[in-house]
């Protein structure tokens, strides 16, 4: 089910009413869990068993990892099996064709290839398997101490609750399909009875308005123009439009994904749960390192905690740090999809991160918090580099991306004003949103009344535009990852 669909417009109030109708934690968690399964299986009910198995497997594993009287060997075996299960599920559904093409001898590939390439990609699998991995790893470290909100299952009652809570944690519909990727330690302590009177309406509604605005007004209206970034269509487009289109896609991608994340956070708040933020004005970044501290924060944090640090992080000398950065970004790229273009995208970011770290260390350049002219220039350069690399998301074949860049250099002709109008108009809100972010220091000097007034006007205008100026409805871009 899509957040921007009529079925969701019916689903949400029904689940909301049922959730607050019962006052016990058991009722509320059950309503949200059942609602989440309905949400997930709405378009394709065949997916429900997959989610159920993933929930069950991770529940069993976390019970084993946190229960008392388990030997170290048994716990280690459980962790390994749980990791194999989660990674294996992801590998089977997402990377089987890529791995088969890479590893199978030609005879076998001819025989098995068609079947491997026909395996469907279940929506949200990259997100909920990562969440499963974080759960079992956190449960491994926590052991009998328990995770806040998820105590060691010492009694049958606690064990039963454990299953229920883990299933809810994995399936909670606002974050199920495209994140934010929630870590166990940030969620379980929030599970408890929720009261209608305790809903923080303002943050919830404002977040929802901004999220729906970014998705429905910005991303959906840019979709038609950016669909022309397609081989061979772009070969007929003049240079100025090609350049504008790359930036438009960059804005669309941010608006689409940040929009989704904000809707998820806003929905979480309506039900009394605080989900972690996923974006922090990423196109204000003055370095690639800063970009990854502002873009898809929960994935960056996951990669750092469960991959970069276990690999040694920056503790084993400079060259190992570069290697780890490179490796994490390469795998992070592949996480986005089973195609070499994603690996190339991740690798490019890895090289940039490592190169930047090397350069900044050599020249002892310190990060600055306040905005300077040089900082603004750096932000524009970083934004442009990041934007150019997004091309690999739209053009999966490397030669097509090269042809596009070559088109920017060679394809002359009069500008197509209609497309430029659409790009200019619907990119503007993202630019204004970032200016709003850049002026944070200055805004701190405002009185609460002034801040409130500006906020009310801004959100009312966005809601008005959602009603009047939405684009063609469609899936979120990150669903395909």
């Amino acid at each position: 089910m899509l957040f921007v669909s009529w079925s969701f417009a019916v689903f949400l109030p029904v689940v909301f009413a049922l959730h607050y109708w019962g006052r016990s934690m058991g009722w509320q968690v059950s309503v949200l869990t059942l609602g989440s399964f309905l949400f997930y299986g709405w378009a394709n009910p065949k997916l429900i068993p997959l989610l159920a198995i993933a929930c069950l497997a991770n529940s069993v594993a976390s019970v084993e990892l946190m229960a008392p009287n388990r030997s170290a060997a048994r716990r280690r075996r459980t962790l390994v099996l749980a990791l194999i299960f989660n990674l294996g599920t992801l590998a089977f559904f997402k990377y089987a064709a890529l791995l088969g093409d890479l590893l199978l001898p030609e005879v076998l590939w001819k025989k098995w290839g068609p079947w491997l390439t026909s395996i469907p990609l279940p929506v949200g699998i990259s997100f909920f398997t990562f969440q499963g991995i974080s759960l079992v790893v956190d449960a491994w470290y926590a052991g009998t101490k328990g995770i806040p909100g998820l105590p060691s299952p010492t009694t049958p009652e606690l064990k039963g609750r454990h299953y229920g809570k883990v299933t809810f944690f994995k399936a909670f519909f606002p974050q199920l399909i495209a994140g934010p990727i929630v870590k166990a330690g940030d969620f379980f302590f929030q599970i408890g009875p929720k009261r209608f009177a305790e809903i923080r309406w303002d943050p919830a509604i404002k977040t929802l308005i901004l999220g729906f605005f970014l998705k429905m007004v910005v991303a959906d209206n840019l979709k038609e123009v950016t669909s022309t970034i397609r081989y061979p269509d772009f070969l007929e487009i003049p240079r100025i439009n090609l350049i504008a289109l790359v930036y438009a896609f960059s804005f669309q991608l941010l608006a689409d994904f940040a929009g989704y994340s904000l809707i998820a956070i806003g929905l979480g708040r309506l039900f009394g749960y605080e989900l972690p933020p996923n974006f922090n004005f990423p196109y204000l970044s003055r370095s690639i390192t800063e970009f990854w501290r502002r873009w898809h924060l929960t994935l960056s944090s996951w990669l750092r905690e469960y991959l970069y640090i276990p690999l040694g992080g920056s503790r084993r000398g400079e060259w190992m740090t570069y290697r780890n950065l490179f490796l994490v970004m390469f795998l992070g790229g592949l996480w986005h999809g089973a195609a070499w273009s994603y690996a190339a995208w991740g690798t490019a970011h890895g090289i940039l991160l490592a190169g930047e770290r090397f350069f900044l260390r050599q020249h002892k350049v310190a990060e600055e918090n306040r905005w300077t002219f040089l900082g603004a220039v750096r932000a524009v350069v970083v934004f442009s580099v990041v934007t150019l690399l997004w091309l690999l998301f739209q053009l999966r074949e490397f030669r097509h991306a090269v042809a596009y860049v070559s088109g920017i250099i060679n394809q002359s002709g009069p500008p197509q004003l209609q497309a430029l109008y659409v790009i200019g108009l619907f990119s503007l809100p993202v630019v204004l949103w970032h200016i709003w972010g850049a002026l944070e220091q200055w805004r701190r000097g405002w009185s609460p009344e002034r801040t409130g007034r500006v906020s009310i006007i801004g959100h009312a205008v966005m809601l008005f535009l959602i009603i009047t100026n939405s684009g063609p409805p469609g899936e979120f871009i990150y669903f395909q990852f």
Partner: protein, 279 residues
């Protein structure tokens, strides 16, 4: 300012903005054209299904989409709607004609691309008419494509650019059908024949319409040669504006090598009305 107050004020201010926009709508020009294909198609579909039912309808692609209803004023086809949908199959237009509660007297079915299968764009357009969104637009004009601030602004800018609202080109040229390469549908004839029979069963006279086409591509070249064949196959009279323009030695002009200029579209609209009167 308390938390709950802000939410209430946001909703109140939004309501005020909506009322102001509805008020402005009565004296702002209704947009005849749109910034994207999707919105241009929405404009046409909503006008056809939600406004007063027209007597005549042009059904087709962006090629016939240039035959703007206002170009027929003063002719025998003055009550005209246009379902020449950008990037769509004429099949979709016929489905929409069947959705109109009051059937039109005549349908002019563009012959170009009749042999192509419907695609994702057609599905999207039909979804648009199937959800509650269209019903909502019937009761709340604010949610219609003609009320989109970006479309109103675009229409106004284009009007300024060409010195008057009546001579601008409708529709959009962001994605051009000429660049789409899709295999023809071998079962086009039974598919279209079935739809045509349904339309005719409601008392509507259906004509095939061949327009002059600028830039040649394999599909359009095929369409030129197959117009007579389609007429025979479907048992429908053909209004051949391509041959007519050739016979009269009129030079037809195109904005982008494919779509008619307003001047040429006005001339062809007049000839279409004449041809129908004489039939």
């Amino acid at each position: 300012m308390s938390s709950a107050t802000q939410t209430r004020r946001i909703l109140l201010l939004t309501a005020v903005l909506c009322v102001i926009w509805i008020g402005l709508g009565s004296w702002l020009p209704r947009p005849e054209l749109a910034e994207t294909n999707y919105v241009a198609n929405r404009l046409r579909i909503e006008r056809f299904l939600l406004d007063s039912a027209p007597s005549n309808v042009v059904v087709g692609t962006s090629l016939s989409g240039r035959l703007q209803p206002s170009f027929f004023s003063g002719t025998t086809l003055a009550s005209m709607a246009n379902l020449g949908l950008d990037g769509a199959n004429p099949d979709t237009g016929l489905t929409l004609v069947l959705k109109q509660a009051r059937p039109p007297e005549r349908v002019f079915l563009e012959v170009h691309r009749l042999i192509m299968p419907p695609g994702a764009n057609d599905t999207q357009l039909l979804n648009l008419t199937q959800g509650p969104g269209l019903e909502l637009s019937r009761w709340a004009a604010l949610t219609r494509a003609m009320s989109r601030p970006s479309t109103v602004l675009y229409g106004w800018l284009k009007g300024q650019q060409s010195g008057g609202g009546s001579t601008v080109t409708p529709g959009s040229q962001i994605t051009r059908p000429g660049t789409v390469t899709v295999e023809p549908d071998p079962k086009w004839a039974p598919r279209i024949r079935e739809k045509v029979r349904q339309v005719e069963a409601r008392g509507t006279k259906v004509y095939l319409l061949r327009l002059p086409v600028g830039r040649e591509n394999p599909v359009d070249a095929q369409a030129k040669s197959f117009a007579d064949e389609a007429s025979m196959e479907l048992g429908l009279p053909l209004v051949d504006l391509y041959r007519l323009s050739q016979a009269e030695g009129v030079e037809i002009r195109y904005t982008d090598g494919l779509h008619l200029t307003p001047q040429s579209a006005v001339w062809l609209a007049g000839r279409l009305a004449q041809a129908v009167s004489s039939k």
